[in-house]
């Protein structure tokens, strides 16, 4: 068994959990979920919907912030601080390092998301609402958020291999926003009747990750179930897309001269 990526992943996780900024983010996320209780109380009749919507949105936004801001520094920081020098002098292949960094951040995001989900469950419990079977869709929505974060992390890591954190943040967020509106962008292209525009928007639609499909917050809020086919489709899509991005990152990083 190759222990190298696992060792790098554990170290990355350790770095994240020893960073106070992370705790601030989790604190603010839990605060937002707590605020959802208050907002829920003044939303007559739709308390459940409001708490779930706000809670899941907080989990998504703070997860995104963590994935982007930690992700863009994953490789860059190691190059800039030259911590990579002594590591790559060990029998560590560059792709193993990347996979380790990626897995470590993903592990961090999973743990944080789990904490925030517990916060949301506590908020729902606090307002005295019994848990019902349809609440499983909340967990599915959280799972989709994690898939989304896995994609965002892969993109951030990819950009981190060759650009500064500032540029990587811009690139990653740019692709994220484009991905959220990918379907709308294609629809706009269809409406123009200009073939070049149609082609361009289609290319964008197929090229950027389609983040819209990972949004099950409204479905969870209304207590509707998420089709099983969508769960596995999204899983396969995220795994494949992140895999391709990691391969590209590995190709770029393997050819780099460390300054």
């Amino acid at each position: 068994m190759n222990v190298t990526p696992a060792a790098v992943a554990i170290n990355t996780f350790r770095e994240a959990v020893r960073d106070r900024v992370l705790y601030n983010l989790v604190f603010f996320a839990l605060l937002m979920i707590g605020a959802a209780i208050f907002v829920g109380q003044i939303s007559i009749g739709i308390e459940r919907l409001v708490i779930i919507n706000l809670g899941l949105t907080a989990i998504s936004i703070f997860g995104l912030v963590m994935a982007v801001f930690i992700g863009v520094g994953l490789v860059y920081k190691e190059m800039e601080k030259r911590t990579l020098y002594s590591l790559l002098a060990k029998p560590v292949r560059r792709w193993e390092f990347l996979v380790g960094k990626y897995t470590g951040l993903l592990l961090t995001l999973c743990v944080n998301t789990a904490f925030m989900t517990l916060g949301l469950a506590a908020a729902l419990f606090y307002v005295g609402r019994p848990f019902v079977r349809s609440d499983a869709s909340i967990l599915v929505a959280v799972y989709f958020i994690l898939l989304e974060l896995a994609l965002v992390t892969a993109l951030a890591l990819f950009f981190s291999c060759f650009s500064s954190p500032m540029l990587s943040t811009l690139f990653t967020l740019g692709i994220y926003v484009t991905g959220v509106f990918a379907k709308d962008i294609r629809d706009v292209g269809e409406l123009t009747n200009v073939s070049a525009m149609k082609t361009l928007t289609s290319v964008v639609y197929y090229l950027v990750p389609n983040f819209h499909n990972f949004n099950a917050i409204a479905t969870a809020g209304h207590g509707n179930s998420v089709p099983f086919s969508l769960i596995w489709q999204n899983t396969a899509y995220a795994v494949l897309y992140a895999g391709v991005v990691l391969l590209a990152a590995s190709a770029v990083f393997s050819g780099r001269n460390l300054k």
Binding site: V3, T4, A7, N11, R14, E15, R18, D19, K81, R82, T83, L84, Y85, S86, L87, L88, A89, K90, P91, V92, R93, G255, N257, L258
Partner: protein, 319 residues
Amino acid sequence: MGTPAIEILGLTKDYPVGFWRKRMVRSLDNLTLEVEEGEVFGFLGPNGAGKTTTMKLLMGLIYPTSGTARIRGRAIDDIQMHREIGYLPEQPYFYDYLTARELLDYYARFSDYSAAERHERVERFLERVGLAEAGDVQLRKFSKGMLQRAGIAQAILHDPHVVFLDEPMSGLDPIGRREVRDIIHELKQKGRTVFFSTHILTDAEMLCDRVAVLAGGKLQGVGAPNEIVSIEVHAMEILFEARDGRSLPAGIAGRATQIGGRIRVEVPESELYRALDELRSCEARILSVTPVRPTLEDYFLLLVGREKAISHAVEVNPR
């Protein structure tokens, strides 16, 4: 003769510079060098000579423009080669959120040790570099010297056959420098090969079987340190205390300088014994006799300025 520990063949590295990165600057120019197993080999040169570039090329951190290198017969792009080497980067920086113990444990994980072996090694090497008591302190609280010790520990933790140390004495106090010298001696006694770069000539003299001098990315010469340094001795310094009431011989008094209660005089090497006899005759107390050599900085300046003349003088084994 067996396979050389390090075999460098025409290693060249060009860096692109400028906004469009079209202009190339040559950092290392056709370096060819062999280091035998068990040698302590010093890599000398002024800043920008190409020492660190060479080390980074050998570690696979940067890629050569042309040329190749092998370490214990393995190409430098062979991952298995990394099991046989240890590396201390110049001015090392480590994960500052880790403690020294955690850092060494992390690096030991890449060497297939069991948890018990890892633990034993980490403790042994923390002790070896004098960090046993600071083992649970986060590296962000370490001084430069302590970081250097942690760096040395991680470089030799897995008992590598070839150890690369980039400026290992940098940032260390005299005790630390002595400890590093002891470690290098120990490695040599165990038959390990040590390849280290330094600016400090005395370290090279004390430790190295051979040294290579690099300037402007080019190899200027390879040889035993005394072969390079001895040609530069141009005077002997005598430090002594004069006996009360005794006047100094004329030949010495004329070039003597008073330093506190002591007197310092520089004489040509050929006149040393005569000067010592004269001092003995006037009952002076000899404190020290030291060869006066130019500093390494002087030597490097000379190298850069008069590359050809010096390269002729130091080139012991021209390649």
